[in-house]
Symmetry: C2
Subunit: 278 residues, 2 copies
């Protein structure tokens, strides 16, 4: 048994979809969330910036004494994940492998789609892992740079006058490829699942990457005997790099519960000064 | 005569619309541009973050020995502009005052609109200045948080399947107010002028805030005898906080010319360490 908290981080708010699932699965665990809201979005930045930011984010969580780290961000997982994993001595979970396993299990026709940020799609990480797990499968991908801004601006209704045409614009080419499974490769996208389902109908299985990452860490901690042993009462603390009030306002969309004053601001200067090499 | 360069800064790429105008008006001046592409967008961040970032941006330009500073960003001008102005001992220009003067001159009916980022509209700066310059005028405003991401993702064609409905969504309420003049209060928005014109037709005068800021600094330097005295051959150097190659690729949309390898990366750690009180 291990009473230490589970650390979850993301470039901003998307990782909260993993936190929601984690607290549902393991209500007795403490969770420390770090969201880099002062530098979000990572998905449109260069590779070197993403790697440097991600190292600082992880260093912050380790200082909080976490027993495991969940990278609940498609962009960081695919661009910096392999590098981060090498330098860590706590268990480390990302969104790519669990999502690809779930997709390979869900598909009947072997025709799968992946949607994510520019940086994630350019990395080819999802495509490569699916190729290993499901040889012979056909994988079609689409970068959707506007979906994160749409979610963060609150345009999440399936019939929203901007979201509906944006979803059609990005997904029409995948629909023409006749996919039967779609990985939502950015942890913001589950918020748009109703809009995506409205476009595709019920014929396409949607894989929620935040949920899959939460399932992976929960399964690992249980098997390794690293759970807290508590049945309920776990606390969640949120650290962000922009105004915590702005964060608390939007976080409700992702969590389905209120954050109120449990969000604390971390100075970006402190973060930039962290030993990025662990 | 003063051979020093003119400093222009923005949270990202939008300020390049001011640089384009400046180099057209004053082809003999050197220009130093700073774009905080590693922390863009400012418009959705909290007030304290915007002020801290802006102070660091200005400190960077002053270190480069500029003779004047142009804040070519609606968000910074409206949220941090007054604070910055107090601490500077070089001439300082922003987008609000010149744009409001141009709008007050252009309107015939006194019914004016302002579109900008969340932070700019919430600051009320444009609305207040227009009220001073044109007493009795009626000013209608709209925050348009998706227009910057649309421009940065390259969705700039008037008939773009996402931009066209987004422009309609934001501008329809202003059209119903029967405005005859619209301030594009974010320096990204002139890139969408064709899409906005397509929505409004020719009946609405569009005020380009980047262009107006450039006109203001050019006029001041000429009157104060602070121009370089050169007729042509001014050089432009670009400093950014994310990958300069990514910047160079998109900058062409704003400048109409190529940046190539004239963009240099500034480390965010160095920037965070700058004396932000000047």
């Amino acid at each position: 048994m291990d009473p230490r908290p589970i650390g979850v981080f993301d470039s901003g708010l998307g990782g909260l979809t993993a936190v929601r699932e984690l607290t549902r699965l393991l209500p007795g665990e403490d969770v420390v969330y770090f969201g880099d809201t002062g530098r979000v979005p990572y998905g449109s930045r260069g590779r070197d910036s993403i790697i440097r930011f991600a190292r600082q984010d992880v260093a912050f969580l380790l200082q909080r004494g976490v027993k495991a780290v969940v990278c609940a961000c498609g962009t960081i997982s695919t661009v910096a994940g392999a590098l981060l994993q090498k330098t860590l001595d706590v268990p480390f979970f990302m969104v790519v492998d669990p999502s690809c396993r779930a997709a390979a299990k869900a598909t009947r026709t072997g025709r799968m789609g992946v949607i994510a940020t520019n940086a994630t799609i350019a990395s080819g990480s999802f495509q490569a892992r699916l190729g290993e797990l499901a040889p012979g499968a056909q994988v079609f991908s689409a970068a959707c740079p506007l979906l994160v801004p749409l979610v963060e601006a609150g345009h999440i209704a399936p019939d929203d006058p901007i979201t509906a045409p944006a979803v059609r614009y990005y997904l029409e080419p995948l629909a023409q490829r006749d996919i039967d499974t779609l990985i939502l490769g950015c942890t913001h996208y589950p918020i748009l699942a109703p809009a995506i389902r409205r476009f595709f109908g019920d014929g396409v299985a949607l894989i929620d990457s935040g949920q899959q990452a939460a399932l992976a860490v929960a399964g690992f901690l249980a098997e390794a005997g690293m759970l807290s042993g508590r049945e309920a009462g776990g606390a969640c603390t949120y650290y962000v790099t922009d105004d915590p009030r702005g964060f608390a306002k939007t976080a409700g969309i992702f969590l389905g519960t209120r954050v109120d004053d449990r969000a604390v601001q971390v100075d970006l200067g402190v973060l930039e000064g962290m030993n990025s090499e662990q």
